[in-house]
């Protein structure tokens, strides 16, 4: 029952905001995301690290088609819920909409997106999952269209159509899965119990993976990403990079491995090599990017490619590393984008070369941002390291060369991130900032606290990842043992 609250709370708040007044929009959203966080913590406390689904809610929807509202979570889901609500929290906190740009709508859309993405994580009915998966695109679409910048109409349309087109294959596969087997139905138990012939598995696998490859994205299905990230306002980029792409990664763990384990082993390597190639490809391209958000998009593709590759090894180390790294990547993305957001307060510009000399102005900001950068390039004792090392190790076990190629991102990542840090933060004092005098009070108290909280999370996850790994052990063994 608790699980459904995580969907209802933001959904109702969203509705409430759209009915309420403008002045209250931000306050209600803040209260809502805060309560959502508390709810996640509560769910975590009550959760047992066993393999079965907990906090289950089940209610018929279209019983003739075997479709039901069926929600629940295990510890893996909980990690996803945590990162989703954390991202929503930061996203709302950083959202400041001038009155003339319709704050009610913006906040309502953010919360709606949160609710739908939580729904996609929590659904254990494959059809309902699909509904949430697709619906969550809609608030993203409107947020981008109404509130983005640049060549927004074209970018929005491309983002929407591309990800939608990818998902249609998945829909076909889902329906096929629903009607196959002894009974018509979409529940997780039935799906996990299916034993499909190999050819069918391959078809289903490919259909699912096309949808996920677009969303993650895996090379060569990535061309929507950089433009979308750079046009999107930071709170939306946070939701896209922090949560939405994890929906795809999580779905691979939750649905693909248990339903089509054989295809995972036979056709999975194709996608694995694509992911590994994409890591190098994106890292090399990131070297010459001059815009902060585009750099972030490409580096994100490299990082997430590694997670996808780890999942595709279908090994315990790969999956554990992947879950750990999904959380770490969200935290890193939040931290980095938070830094970018603060930079934009100094100056309305998006190029790396437009800044410089920030560290002089604000050593606190400069110092913490450096920690964020180090976590991004997975220096030990930061959040980025434990997951990366486990993923690389699992890849190495699978094939030495894939680990070597993926490991190149360690070097290339250091090249572009340190260069970015140097250009953004270091160098002689920038007279522009002193002239405007903006630096005198660039960060509010909540900004500072948020940065400190993220820094703490980064160090905590870097130093003590073991609790989490133990916690997700049973569900992962369960997923890998279904066949």
């Amino acid at each position: 029952m608790l699980s459904v609250l995580s969907i209802l709370l933001p959904a109702l708040s969203s509705l409430f905001i759209s009915l309420g007044t403008r002045d209250w929009a931000r306050r209600i959203s803040l209260a809502s995301v805060f309560l959502s966080m508390i709810l996640v913590v509560l769910e975590g406390f009550l959760l047992k690290p066993t393999a079965e689904m907990q906090h289950v809610f089940q209610s018929a929807w279209m019983s003739s088609a075997g479709i039901m509202f069926y929600f629940g979570m295990d510890s893996i889901t909980w990690v996803m819920l945590l990162l989703s609500n954390l991202a929503a929290f930061v996203s709302v906190l950083l959202t400041e909409v001038p009155k003339e740009r319709n704050p009610k709508l913006v906040f309502a859309l953010i919360l709606a997106m949160q609710a739908l993405m939580n729904g996609a994580f929590l659904s254990i009915d494959l059809f309902v999952y699909y509904v949430f998966w697709e619906l969550s695109l809609i608030p993203a679409f409107f947020l981008l269209l109404l509130w983005g910048n640049g060549k927004i109409q074209k970018t929005t349309l491309k983002f929407f159509l591309y990800t939608l087109a990818g998902s249609l294959f998945m829909l076909a596969a889902i329906i096929w899965l629903g009607i196959s087997g002894p009974t018509i139905g979409f529940g997780l138990e039935k799906m996990m119990g299916l034993t499909l012939p190999h050819e069918t598995q391959v078809a289903v696998f490919v259909a699912f993976m096309v949808a996920y490859a677009v969303k993650i994205p895996i090379f060569p299905f990535h061309t929507w990403q950089a433009e979308t990230y750079s046009s999107a306002p930071i709170p939306l980029t946070i939701l896209l990079a922090g949560v939405m792409l994890k929906m795809a990664l999580y779905s691979m763990v939750r649905w693909v491995i248990p339903i089509v384990p054989d295809a995972m082993l036979s056709v999975g390597p194709v996608f694995l090599w694509l992911a590994v190639f994409g890591i190098v490809y994106a890292s090399v391209i990131a070297l010459k990017q001059t815009e902060i958000k585009k750099l972030f998009a490409w580096s994100s593709m490299a990082h997430v490619g590694l997670i996808a590759a780890g999942i595709l090894t279908a090994s315990p180390d790969g999956l554990k590393g992947a879950v750990l790294q999904m959380l770490a990547h969200t935290i890193n993305a939040l931290a980095f984008l938070m830094g970018v957001h603060l930079l934009s307060k100094w100056k309305k510009a998006g190029g790396l070369a437009d800044f410089g000399g920030v560290r002089n102005m604000d050593p606190f900001f400069g110092g913490l941002f450096l920690l964020f950068v180090f976590s991004f390039i997975s220096v030990p004792f930061t959040a980025g390291f434990p997951g990366e090392v486990m993923l690389l190790s699992s890849l190495f076990h699978w094939n030495e060369w894939s680990s070597f190629l993926a490991g190149l991102a360690m070097i290339l990542g250091a090249v572009y991130m340190l260069k970015a840090y140097q250009l953004l933060m270091l160098g002689p004092a920038n007279p522009e900032f002193t002239q405007y005098g903006a630096f005198q009070n660039p960060m509010s108290l909540s900004d500072k606290l948020l940065m400190l909280a993220l820094a703490t999370l980064i160090l905590f996850l870097g130093l003590f990842p073991q609790r989490l790994l133990e916690w997700i052990d049973n569900p992962i063994q369960n997923i890998l043992n279904t066949n």
Partner: protein, 647 residues
């Protein structure tokens, strides 16, 4: 959890510098700048005292193991936050905290004018913490954490003056070049793990000494047959490549000379005495593994020798006193790897220790000069400083005599041990090793004489404000000078009726190797090398002190190809730029604008346009004319009929 007193001490040793870092990080604002260095030094000094007490305990109680918590674990992939302190690590810990304390103290004087002195000391403390983690780690991944951590601090300290973009570039370069080595290191560890199923040094050593897998409750399917020689070769080579990054050997040495952008105490601590010896420590720690691959040992030996000669040749023609010392470090580290490759582990470690003393001394001495001259680093604009900077001159001379291996200074004993080991392998290696040593004699004396002797080439302002090191700087200089002079006492060979104290102490970790050379041969070798050193010393003295020769400007070297190559550092940086950096940048452009934008995205957009085009064509069929629809219907029926008939 219950810890014994020794274990608690072991935990406190890295914890105290970390604590010092956090004090600065959290309460830095409220610490008086002048006081900051004392706080930072205090923690490191207490760590030193604790290290010393452990050092004394180990012969009696054996090695200490402390398990703090499990950091990362998935199946057999288990990484504990755990330390092992044995003879080898306890000496390293003493070295790090001891030299560390001295350099902290020195920095109080050296950095007293810097506005950000607190940030400086916080980084130094953090460095000591990571370095201790590296040395104390009981497994590869925790060692790697320290390994990357010191790289991180090195980055922070090289780019300490971050307003200068040239320094930032040097810092980035150091980090990135090290990352190349780090990747190799990590892959080597994965390969090792894949075949042994364990990550701790102890089980790995056990594995390689018994040949049996020692895997407690492993879930990894392991090959039971012994490791193929090719696998061991791959593992050791990857680890060695990692070591070349951290210890600045060919091919990854290029970052170290640039790293001199950092404040001079940093160069002394990180880039001479401690961090750069991590690669040597890594091989010492896993000597049982490296011993199994003779090919790797030969490669290590050759790389070390080559780097040593290379560094010496380049140092001959440099003018920046810190650059000379940097290439000298590259060269001396090469000598240590040379010794490792020869299997002379004790000699390598002995040289590591003496080198830490005299090279830290030389850097700090050079720093004292640079400080006195307000940042001047070019030896052509120094000269005649002997009379004015008396203390600095004498301690610097002590360092020089130690590094050129003049008896009875410390460098003599350690280098002699290496040369002896080389002779045992082949007289040719001995000769080449001696040659590398003689290069050292020449460039060090050139450095010394041009700096301290001859005519003064200072400008008036520098002359006026010339001052010798203050107390905070003088004390470390003197202490290090004493160690540089007398460090040889640590391991006096049996030739001089010594008891080889260091080797004996170390033998619990690395077994002693027995020398096959008669004392008579030893005397001849030692005599020959000493005579050569003396000869070169006289030549150098004549050229730079008596004739007062001053190195000429760079462009006049163009006529002499060889000297031009030396002065240009063999243009390795330029070659790397042309062969690696530029092609990768070009590849980036190519991938982005051609492959990605034009082809992949072109295909995506093309699909979109194709569907629009098809849609617009299809739309024309819906034109509203009944006759057209009827015609189409008739056509369709005929088509169906035809198909029926044909089937």
């Amino acid at each position: 959890m219950n810890y014994t007193p020794a274990q608690l001490i072991a935990l406190l040793i890295p914890a105290l510098p970390l604590f010092g870092f956090f004090i600065h990080f959290l309460f830095g604002k409220w610490i008086k700048p002048g006081f900051s260095g004392w706080i930072a030094s205090f923690w490191v000094f207490v760590s030193f005292l604790f290290s010393a007490s452990l050092f004394l305990q180990i012969p009696k109680e054996g090695k200490q193991h402390v398990h703090l918590y499990t950091w990362l674990k998935s199946g057999a992939f288990q990484v504990d936050f755990a330390f092992t302190i044995d003879a080898l690590s306890s000496i390293m810990m003493m070295l790090i905290t001891g030299v560390g304390t001295l350099i902290h103290l020195y920095s109080i004087g050296y950095m007293h004018n810097d506005k950000e002195i607190r940030r400086f000391f916080s980084y130094l403390n953090l460095f000591v913490f990571f370095m201790l983690i590296l040395i104390m780690a009981d497994n590869f991944i925790l060692l790697f954490a320290g390994w990357e951590g010191v790289g991180l601090c090195s980055y922070l300290l090289i780019g300490f003056w971050y307003q200068n973009h040239a320094y930032n570039a040097a810092a980035n370069k150091a980090f990135i070049v090290n990352r190349i080595g780090d990747l190799a290191f990590l892959l080597g560890v994965f390969l090792l793990f894949q075949h042994t199923g364990t990550l701790t040094f102890e089980s790995i050593n056990q594995f390689f000494s018994s040949g049996q897998p020692v895997i407690p409750n492993s879930s990894v399917a392991l090959t039971t047959e012994p490791l193929a020689p090719g696998t061991i070769l791959a593992i050791t080579l990857l680890l060695f490549l990692g070591a070349t990054g951290k210890s600045a050997q060919i091919p990854l040495f290029t970052w170290l000379p640039d790293a001199m952008a950092g404040p001079t105490p940093v160069s002394a601590l990180i880039h001479a005495a401690t961090m750069v010896t991590a690669g040597i420590y890594l091989i010492l720690r896993n000597h049982a593994l490296f011993m199994l691959s003779p090919a790797t040992m030969d490669i290590i030996m050759a790389t070390g020798l080559l780097t040593s000669i290379f560094g010496g040749l380049v140092a001959l023609k440099q003018h920046d006193c810190k650059k000379i010392l940097a290439y000298s470090t590259v060269s001396q580290l090469g000598l240590m790897f040379f010794a490792l490759g020869l299997g002379a582990y004790h000699a390598a470690f002995f040289h590591l220790l003496t080198h830490a003393f005299f090279k830290a001394l030389l850097f700090l001495g050079a720093g004292s000069v640079i400080h006195a001259l307000h940042g001047e680093q070019d030896i052509r604009r120094m000269g005649g400083l002997a009379g004015k900077l008396k203390l600095t001159r004498w301690v610097f001379l002590a360092g020089v005599l130690a590094i050129i291996a003049l008896p009875p200074f410390s460098g003599f004993f350690s280098k002699d041990a290496i040369l002896l080991a080389a002779y045992q392998k082949s007289p040719l290696w001995w000769l080449l090793g001696l040659f590398a040593g003689l290069l050292t004699v020449w460039y060090m004396l050139r450095l010394y004489f041009v700096m301290f002797h001859g005519n003064s080439r200072l400008d008036q302002q520098q002359e006026k404000s010339l001052h010798d090191a203050g107390t905070e700087m003088a004390v470390p200089l003197v202490v290090l000078a004493v160690f540089s002079v007398a460090g040889g006492l640590l391991n006096i060979p049996s030739l001089f009726l010594g008891n080889q104290w260091l080797s004996t102490y170390l033998s619990s970790v690395i077994p002693l190797s027995v020398s096959h050379v008669s004392h008579a041969t030893e005397w001849v070798l030692m005599g020959t090398s000493t005579l050569c050193v003396l000869g070169v010393t006289l030549f150098a003295r004549n050229k730079y002190s008596v004739l007062k020769h001053v190195p000429c400007e760079d462009n006049s070297l163009k006529n002499n190809r060889l000297q031009y190559m030396f002065a240009g550092k063999f243009f390795v940086d330029e070659v790397y730029h042309a062969v690696i950096v530029n092609p990768v940048q070009k590849l980036s452009d190519f991938l982005f604008s051609y492959i990605d934008r034009k082809w992949i995205d072109g295909l995506v957009e093309g699909t979109g346009r194709l569907s629009l085009f098809l849609g617009s064509k299809w739309k024309e069929t819906q034109n509203g004319f009944i006759s057209y629809y009827l015609f189409a219907m008739a056509l369709g029926m005929i088509g169906i009929l035809v198909i029926f008939i044909l089937l």
